[in-house]
Structures are given as C-alpha cells and as structure tokens.
Amino acid sequence: MDYDIDRLLPTAQITLEEPPAEKDETIAFLLDLVVENDRVNDRENALEALRERERETTTGVGKGIAIPHAQTDGVSEPSVAFCRSEAGLDFDSMDEQPAHLIFEILVPEGGSDDHLEILSSLSRSLMHEEVREGLYDAESPEGIQAVLGEAID
C-alpha cells in the first residue's frame, strides 16, 4: 500500500480508551478522534456518510473485527482511526461475534480506489491471527501503530 502508516493512522487517531457500548456512538467516537486531529471539515457530512454505509450492510466482518468506512468530502485526507472494545460491540456481524477491534476508514470522495485499497489491505493483514493478537496485546497507541505498520503491505 502506498501509504505511510504515520500519515494514515497517526497515534492521535488511536485510543485504548473503552469506546461507548453502542455501535452508532462508537462510530461517532472514532470520527471525533479524526476531528480532534484536525482532518475533518464537515463532521455531519462525514458521520452521515458512515451511517449511510452502515445502513446498506454491516461493516462487521467477523473474527471480532469491524471496519466502518466511508468516502466523504468531510475529510481532508485518507484517515484511519482505531479503538479496542473490551466489552465487545454488537455490529450484527455474520459470524455473530461481537466486535473488539474497530477501525474506521475515511477517504475523500473521488479516490475510489484508495478507499477499496485501504479496506482490502487492512482486511488482509487482519486475517493473520498474530496480527489480531498483537492488537489485543498492545499497551499504547504506538504499539498498535507498530503492529499495523508491520502487517500492512
């Protein structure tokens, strides 16, 4: 992938704080990490795009992972945010498992390939159990970033 992990997933967009218990609120919670990192110029627009995608079909992809995502001009550059839920969130995933590792991808409109490319690269890396374990074990945003930086090709 042609993205620098520090740029795509800066530590400011990673939290180890427990997210809200509801999926909808967690989607907003992750968006706010990107907002606080000054990459969002239209929060409402971005949030609506995420919800719209979620209404189409869930982004819970199983194995304890959810990847809500959207293309929206509400963001200024391709951005990923991450949180980890100890409690587990009901994402209505097909394997009926709660989501513990949640990634949110926001990409400006127009670069449709970017969007799919980030999603598939991330999914590919998350298929490896050792990567998921690494994300569960990491004790800091830097640790999370390092695991993903290594795993994403």
């Binding site: 992938m1 995608r53 209404r55 189409e56 079909t57 869930t58 819970g60 992809v61 199983g62 194995k63 992972i65 990847i67 995933s93 097909m94 394997d95 390939d113 799919l116 490319e117 999603l119 598939s120 690269s121 999914s123 590919r124 998350l126 298929m127």
Partner: protein, 117 residues
C-alpha cells in the same frame, strides 16, 4: 472439485451489499468454497480465501468488472457455484429508495384468489 471464473457485475465490486450476499450464499451451501482475485487490483498474491468469511472476501479488494475464481469442493459444489455466480452477475437493483433501512419489499402480497369483486 469445481472451478469457475466469474466477472463481478455490481458497481460496488465485491464489497458492501454484494459482498455480504456473496458470503451469505456461500454459508448456505454445505461445501467448502474458496474465492480468489484474478484481475487483482491491489492484491498480487491471488491466493484463494474462504468464501464464507467476510474478512477474507473484503481482503480481496475485487472491483467492478474484475474477475474472481470460485473453487468449490463437496457435494453441493455445482449448486453453490451457480448461486454465487448469480450473486456476482446481478447488478444492484436500483436505489432502494428512502424507506428506512431494510425495505426488502416482500414482493406482491398475493391476494386471495376468491376475493375478486
């Protein structure tokens, strides 16, 4: 073992709703099904993944008008491949309107025959 090359018709590619229909269909069949990207956009490896895993299918990054190879093993292989090919060959039916969320209409609620005036 049965194999088939199928072109992905839906605009979204093997992603979003077409992907979840694909995975659901794979799960409904009692055989082992794998899927690989053929005209790989991002993924150079072309390694088949479990078709019943949403994570696996998402990892392929298959776009509109690209092809996939379906590989099935087991008794229902041909049926499964037929059903999966159908999902991949069906363009998404229009915008689903403004109705709140899942408005998969139940088709024509059949009127009882005897009730005609």
């Amino acid at each position: 073992m049965a194999e088939r090359l199928v072109r992905v018709v839906p605009e979204a590619g093997l992603h979003a709703r077409p992907a979840s229909e694909f995975v659901q269909t794979a799960n409904e069949h009692d055989c082992e099904i794998r899927v690989a990207a053929v005209d790989s956009g991002g993924n150079e490896e072309d390694e088949p993944v479990d078709a019943s895993s949403m994570l696996g299918v998402t990892s392929l990054g298959v776009g509109h008008d690209e092809r996939v190879k379906l590989i099935a093993e087991g008794e229902e292989s041909e049926d499964a491949l037929d059903a999966l090919e159908e999902v991949l060959s069906t363009p998404e039916n229009g915008d689903s309107g403004e109705c709140d969320g899942d408005s998969e209409s139940e088709g024509n609620t059949s009127k009882a025959n005897g009730e005609e005036e």
